[in-house]
Symmetry: none
Subunit: 233 residues, 4 copies
DNA sequence: GATGAATGAGTGTTCATTCAT
DNA sequence: GATGAATGAACACTCATTCAT
């Protein structure tokens, strides 16, 4: 690499590792994710992102074309991240009830742990989903989440544990709603009702409630008693 | 007064209701609500608001000081609206189970009917709740929502219908989460999973699910059968 | 005065004295003088003046036409004021040296006591004197100041005390320069050299210096000794 | 580099000295100095400055942040300029009397030659000195002016020529007052008393008067005769 | 690939002033 | 005479983006 030689010859010592394009891209995306998550698309200044990274503003345009291009990449990468975390779940060996509770409470925790992701989704919804990644890329990843639920739900139905007539998508919607709202609306909810629910103890209760809620939602009524004990505080 | 007659007679369009500050304020807020709801605080251009109203841009500054002042008023007024709708509910005569289902499904419908409000809350949460109305004004209105749930819940407990150990605030959180998510995340959810749930049929199912979910969440397990029939499609 | 009767009949208790146009004008001018003196012509907001007075903004336009008209009146009135103070001087009975010193030190003190006037003159000079009162009105008042100096100076020359070849206008220029600068440049001078000269002790020294300076400037050299003692601290 | 040749060759007028930040800054400051000196801080329109320079309005914000930042720089640079002119004075070889007269008359002329500077100081005093440069930068430059006077004054005292008990700062104040007023108040003074003093002949007289005044102010009385001849017209 | 300089098209905001009552 | 409402023209300032080196 003649370039590297040239650089050494002319010092510029702090540039050495920046020549790695992937690393530059990754740094930009990282900084941009934080910025967009905090202030939204129009609320974020390109200059602000540039100021927080070690390369220059020009690189943003070099790699991502424009602000919107950068935002799209940030959003796509955020979806990839969260799905990657979900893939780590291993529920095959659990009975349907436990698996369903597990998936619900895991989602609750995963969302709570990735607040930047939730904020990006909030922002993207404000923009009516105009910058969502390609359907192909998305559905590939997300269908697996549904398939997992489908598997659990049908196992539960076959075992006579779950009431029939529901869809895995509806269960996903249910779990997502509770887990998402827990992060998305902290600010306004706290301002109105106080922040107790979002402190450690409150979160533990809510997580269990989310598990309870989904399980109770699908269980046949004559099967309910067996888990009722869990939901007491 | 001949003038009034003339005005009714149609012309003098620019003067007809000038010098009526309440009306001017109301028009500005109405236009601004739509604009802010669509594009957020920083995404909305003051000129765009001005273009859609019959008064000039200058009046926004006359009445609201600046863009943020206008946004604050829009948000406060949106909260007032939604609470006003909630006050119309009359649940005193219903048994606890029916009342709870009623309050849940009503919230679901009320949120679905006031999408601008939901979008404003989304936006405000992106801004970390920095522009929320005075706690005094808010809590006065919102505590009543909680008190209603408290009343229903304690009636249900006393009747031996509901399991104990929950709080009205948690029930409110539960109902809000499902009803809110149904509006807030339509865009991204549809892009990933298709829009079926948000069409008329899907919404009807979801509405019932929300009722089921909350009722099943609180009912003692030996009381469940009696409403199980309702939740089938 | 039918008006007064009407007003009593319809209460409006706090307006009673505002109906006196002179008083309204005087109040406006007083408030405006302070405002213009502090912030200049373009730096002063009409609204700010209005806020500090008991009548409405509309009255400014009613009485003075526009902002510039008000400023002109304020300036003219300020000149009238300062001349009025000067007229109180009675120097006829003093010998020329004492009278000259008296006029110099009085001017120094008078300027120091009317800082708003000095600031208005500063501002007017920034505007190249574009709003100065009619020459007729001005010269009538100011020529008297010159005539006073002329009288003292010619008495001094006739008595063989003063050197000849100077003009009363030059003496006036001399006295004015020192007295004016003492007020006009306090801010910048203090920032550079500290504020000592503008505290009580420093001002007393400067006042005497101004007297010394003018007297020494005109005295024939063989007449100097007799006043030299005064100028020691 | 052929490019450099081409540029010298005259054309490419818009590009010729672009990308030369010092030059751009200098041009902006030059234009802004004239504008602020003429109309003050609030009276000057940024667009007016922009219209008179070869770069765009945007550059003002790029280099100076905002209007006030530009004004500050203009003011600081104006102080630097005037001090630079003063440094050219070489008074070491002159006797104290001649040196004092020299410094006084030079100041008079220097101020008269740099009216923009005086006007900026006027304006800054209207603003109560709120935008004055750092004390460090200022005092470094200005203390030298005082030290020069201190040197002359103490030499004069030691030689038995000057009366004691004065301070160099007071002498500086005296000289500044006369020299400053001569520029600052031309407009109003002329409007009242006519402009004769500010024409060539009048200025020559005033310059000599300023020299006379300061010298007479410090000389012991028995030393006066020797210079008295100079002050006759 | 990398950097500071440069830019056009807006963007929120302010001002003196006038109108309707 | 008096008041709050209304206004148009302009104002300082910002933004994403591109250019020159």
């Amino acid at each position: 690499m003649a370039d590297v030689e040239d650089m050494k010859a002319k010092d510029l010592p702090r540039r050495s590792w920046k020549q790695d394009p992937d690393r530059v891209r990754a740094e930009i995306i990282g900084v941009a994710r934080a910025a967009f998550a905090r202030k939204g698309l129009s609320g974020t200044r390109i200059e602000e992102i540039a100021a927080r990274m070690s390369t220059s503003k020009r690189m943003i345009y070099y790699y991502f074309g424009d602000k919107e291009g950068l935002y799209r990449e940030v959003l796509a990468e955020a979806y990839r991240r969260i799905r990657r975390a979900e893939e780590a779940l291993d529920l095959e060996h659990l009975d349907p009830v436990a698996a369903l509770r597990q998936i619900a409470e895991f989602t609750f925790e995963n969302h709570a742990a990735q607040q930047d992701f939730i904020r990006l989704v909030m922002i993207e919804n404000v923009h009516a989903g105009a910058h969502m990644p390609d359907t192909e890329e998305m559905s590939g990843q997300n269908v697996s989440a549904i398939r997992l639920l489908e598997d659990i739900y049908s196992r539960g139905c076959e075992a006579g544990l779950f009431r029939t007539g529901l869809s895995a998508l509806e269960l996903h919607w249910h779990i997502s709603a509770l887990s998402y709202f827990n992060v998305s609306n902290r600010a306004t909810f706290s301002k109105i009702f106080g922040g107790e629910l979002f402190e450690a103890k409150g979160q533990a209760r809510l997580r269990r409630h989310v598990g309870d809620s989904v399980v109770r939602f699908v269980l046949k009524s004559d099967r309910l008693p067996e888990f009722d004990g869990h939901s007491r505080d």
